[in-house]
């Protein structure tokens, strides 16, 4: 299993990284954004395995993006590694603050309370005109350990960076999903009472999943902000979070690569429906969503991976 996972990770890395050569500029950017959002969705998938879905991951996506932007603009830091680390650290702290609170809630209440938190961030940022209010802020292109590419090399470097992070995060999350803790998460989704009566703390399990989601959300937000060059409070708006949930549901909680594929599919569908149906793209997107939910009730991942006991 362990060596298989490493082989899979290397294959995924090579296939995805090849995009830096093959993909046209616009698609490389689209993929980079999709992968950054995919990281956020991976965090939701982690929570989904425990039976809850956060409708407020925009909170961390936005927090990460703003942390990077404010640090970059205030202290002139442009190194992508440093910015990513700082945002992840901030999201970790905020996640640790809210995690224990939210871990008491389930189902629609968890979804709505997490949504409320992200809307409070949205509202606060909208009010802060000294950091741009609803108009948001720009952030300069990142540097990579002192290297400051421009044009296509910049896009390619960003793309490779996000691919690497996605593969590392995906591999770690796969390890976690398959671990003892991961199994406990699945058991919690199934029967909390049982888990509690075996002597484990369900809140603790939920809190960890939430905190991992927070960190992934912050990293995703940071990369998205650097790729876009702009952040605004929309990052925390409920429709942004809703999109992440959609990707997570589309992917299902069985397969990690499915999350990435789902994120890319959504970006492609949205981009093309926007162009071909400028007046009815919402209609097209809505029909697509419904079709997916009806056709793949357990998500994209169920096409390639089924839960079986003797699967190793």
């Amino acid at each position: 299993m362990g060596s298989n996972l490493i082989v899979s990770a290397i294959v995924a890395l090579v296939v995805l990284a090849a995009g830096a050569v093959i993909l046209p500029d616009w698609a490389m950017f689209l993929f980079a954004m999709a992968l950054a959002k995919g990281l956020v969705c991976l965090g939701i998938v982690g929570m989904m395995r425990g039976g809850v879905v956060s409708f407020g991951q925009g909170l961390y996506y936005c927090l990460g993006a703003y942390t990077a932007t404010l640090v970059a603009n205030t202290f002139g830091v442009s190194d992508i590694f440093l910015l990513t680390l700082l945002s992840a650290a901030v999201c970790l702290l905020v996640g640790l603050a809210f995690g224990p609170l939210l871990s008491n809630y389930r189902g629609i209440f968890f979804a709505m309370l997490s949504l409320a938190l992200s809307m409070v961030l949205y509202g606060s940022l909208s009010k802060m005109s000294f950091i741009g209010g609803t108009d948001g802020l720009n952030i300069a292109a990142p540097t990579f350990l002192g290297w400051a590419p421009e044009g296509r090399p910049l896009q390619a470097a960003l793309y490779i960076y996000v691919v690497t992070i996605v593969v590392i995060a995906g591999t770690l999350m796969r390890l976690y999903f398959d671990s003892e803790r991961g199994l406990l998460t699945l058991a919690t989704r199934d029967n909390e009472l049982r888990v509690e009566y075996l002597g484990a703390s369900v809140r603790n399990i939920m809190t960890y999943n939430y905190v991992f989601g927070a960190v992934l959300g912050g990293i995703g937000g940071t990369i998205a902000a650097l790729a876009l060059g702009h952040v605004d409070p929309e990052f925390a708006f409920w429709t942004t979070s809703g999109e992440f949930v959609f990707v997570a549901i589309l992917a299902g909680y069985l397969s990690v690569p499915a999350v990435i594929v789902a994120a890319i599919i959504l970006e492609l569908v949205r981009s093309f429906s926007n162009l071909y149906f400028p007046n009815t793209w919402q209609l097209a997107l809505g029909i697509f969503l419904l079709a997916v939910i009806i056709a793949l009730p357990n998500g994209l991942g169920s096409l390639v991976r089924r839960r079986k006991g003797n699967e190793t």
């Binding site: 046209p24 005109s129 060059g229």
Partner: protein, 440 residues
């Protein structure tokens, strides 16, 4: 596990390949392709996006046909080239717009981009435009921050920024000797409303230093219900109520405010409100001080002068096509397209008549001046990237005989009277008492 990862890998690989191979056919030399981004859905569609593009489409058709317009716009298309358009909906936020912008430039290979009503989009796009070296015109958005906080090579804004709207409004009060012991504001709770209120209070502080601010209300964007806010305004009894609301928010506010008699107890001053006239008609009360973010709509129609022929041509064509008169949004789209046409033709005169590159276009556009139905547009600020234009404020009066809303007591302001000089930030300019303003 290994097997399924290969499956995913091959799916990804196939997708990558398919996208890599499907590039669009490269643009032809006898066609100039523009990407137009404006609101086709959401609340800004009705007030700005759709009328703007209605006006834009009309003008593009007239240009492609050729000879429909007075000189200097009598040449067909852009410098003889046919104009082709790709339209994209602006709804969905800045994140989406950055992506769509890249798609327009890199996938659709447009020659220029004209778009953006939302200030957030206008802030997000310029760095990308410069990165891609894509010639871009911001045609509508208001925030002064675009060129005050940054500088861009390939980005131009062909409309004055929003500072002018509220400075003009304050000047209008002063020039008509309106007594303002106190005032209050009701503005949408996002950057536009917050900035407008800051500009207005700043300008009032210069012109009416003794006026007291009673309350500053910021209902949520798209709130629809203003009952509580109107109660607060009625209780506070300000002499004047300022609002930069637009679209459905403004219409809803006016319907509810007039039903409860707010307009009889306080003077209403609407910085950007002309575009609700066609919908509200006589439901819009008389005596409102009204701006149109430029000499647009009724103020342009009433102005006459040497631009009358151009203005009337567009006005009549628009009325004939859409059965309503053009408000501010189509005027701003027109000034953008006329500006683009002027720049293209200037660049072609310099390069021997071939289709200009982005660099040539940018060079031609810098500091350009041209005539539009909304007056003389001068790319006077931010090193020739930011336009200034004249403005007008008037007072509403319903003409019952003609069944039309008219604008009376219109005051026209020179561009340099209500816009800051080059190199000075709007907020400082207001705070320092409008240094260098040239009013007549």
């Amino acid at each position: 596990m290994k097997k399924l990862n290969f499956k995913i890998g091959s799916v990804l690989g196939a997708m990558t390949l398919a996208i890599g191979l499907s590039g669009p056919a490269s643009a032809q030399d006898d066609t100039f392709k523009i990407g137009v981004i404006t609101f086709l859905s959401g609340q800004a569609a009705e007030s700005f996006g759709v009328p703007a593009w209605n006006g834009g489409k009309l003008l593009v058709d007239m240009l492609n046909e050729g000879g429909k317009l007075p000189a200097p716009y009598d040449q067909k298309g852009f410098g003889g080239m046919n104009i082709e358009v790709v339209v994209v909906d602006e709804a969905g936020g800045a994140t989406k717009q950055v992506q769509e912008f890249r798609n327009l430039v890199q996938r659709e290979e447009v020659d220029a981009v004209v778009g953006y009503v939302s200030s957030g989009d206008c802030l997000a796009i310029p760095p990308v435009a410069d990165e891609l070296k894509a010639f871009t015109i911001l045609y509508d958005c208001g925030t002064p921050r675009v060129f005050e906080d940054g500088s861009y090579e390939y980005v131009f804004r062909t409309a004055a920024h929003a500072t002018m709207d509220n400075v003009s409004l304050a000047r209008y009060l002063k020039s008509r000797n309106f007594d303002v012991p106190s005032f209050a504001g009701l503005n949408q709770d996002y950057a536009w409303g917050q900035d407008s209120w800051a500009d207005f209070t700043g300008a009032m502080n210069q012109l009416y230093p003794d006026a007291e601010v009673k309350t500053a209300l910021f209902p949520k964007f798209g709130a629809g219900q203003y009952g509580t806010e109107i109660s607060a305004l009625l209780r506070e009894k300000p002499a004047l109520v300022h609002s930069s609301n637009w679209g459905g928010d403004l219409q809803g506010f006016l319907i509810q405010a007039t039903a409860r008699g707010l307009h009889k107890r306080a003077q209403l001053a609407l910085a950007a409100g002309d575009h609700v006239i066609p919908q509200l008609q006589d439901k819009m009360p008389d005596g409102i001080f009204l701006g149109a973010r430029g000499v647009n709509g009724l103020a342009a129609y009433a102005r006459g002068g040497e631009l009358k022929e151009l203005t009337d041509t567009m006005w009549e064509a628009y009325e004939a096509e859409y059965d309503t008169f053009p408000v501010q949004a189509p005027f701003r789209m027109w000034q953008a397209i006329f500006g683009l046409k002027t720049a293209i033709e200037k660049a072609m005169a310099d390069n021997g008549g071939t289709k200009p590159t982005s660099e040539q276009l940018a060079a031609a556009m810098k500091g350009l001046e041209w005539d539009a139905p909304s007056g003389r547009i001068e790319m006077a600020l931010a090193g020739g990237h930011q336009a200034i234009q004249p403005n007008a404020i008037g007072t509403t009066k319903w003409n019952a005989d003609a069944g039309k809303m008219e604008l009376v007591d219109v005051e026209y302001y020179d561009a340099r009277c209500v816009n800051p000089p080059d190199g000075m930030k709007s907020q400082e300019w207001i705070a320092q008492g409008f240094p260098g303003a040239q009013c007549n």
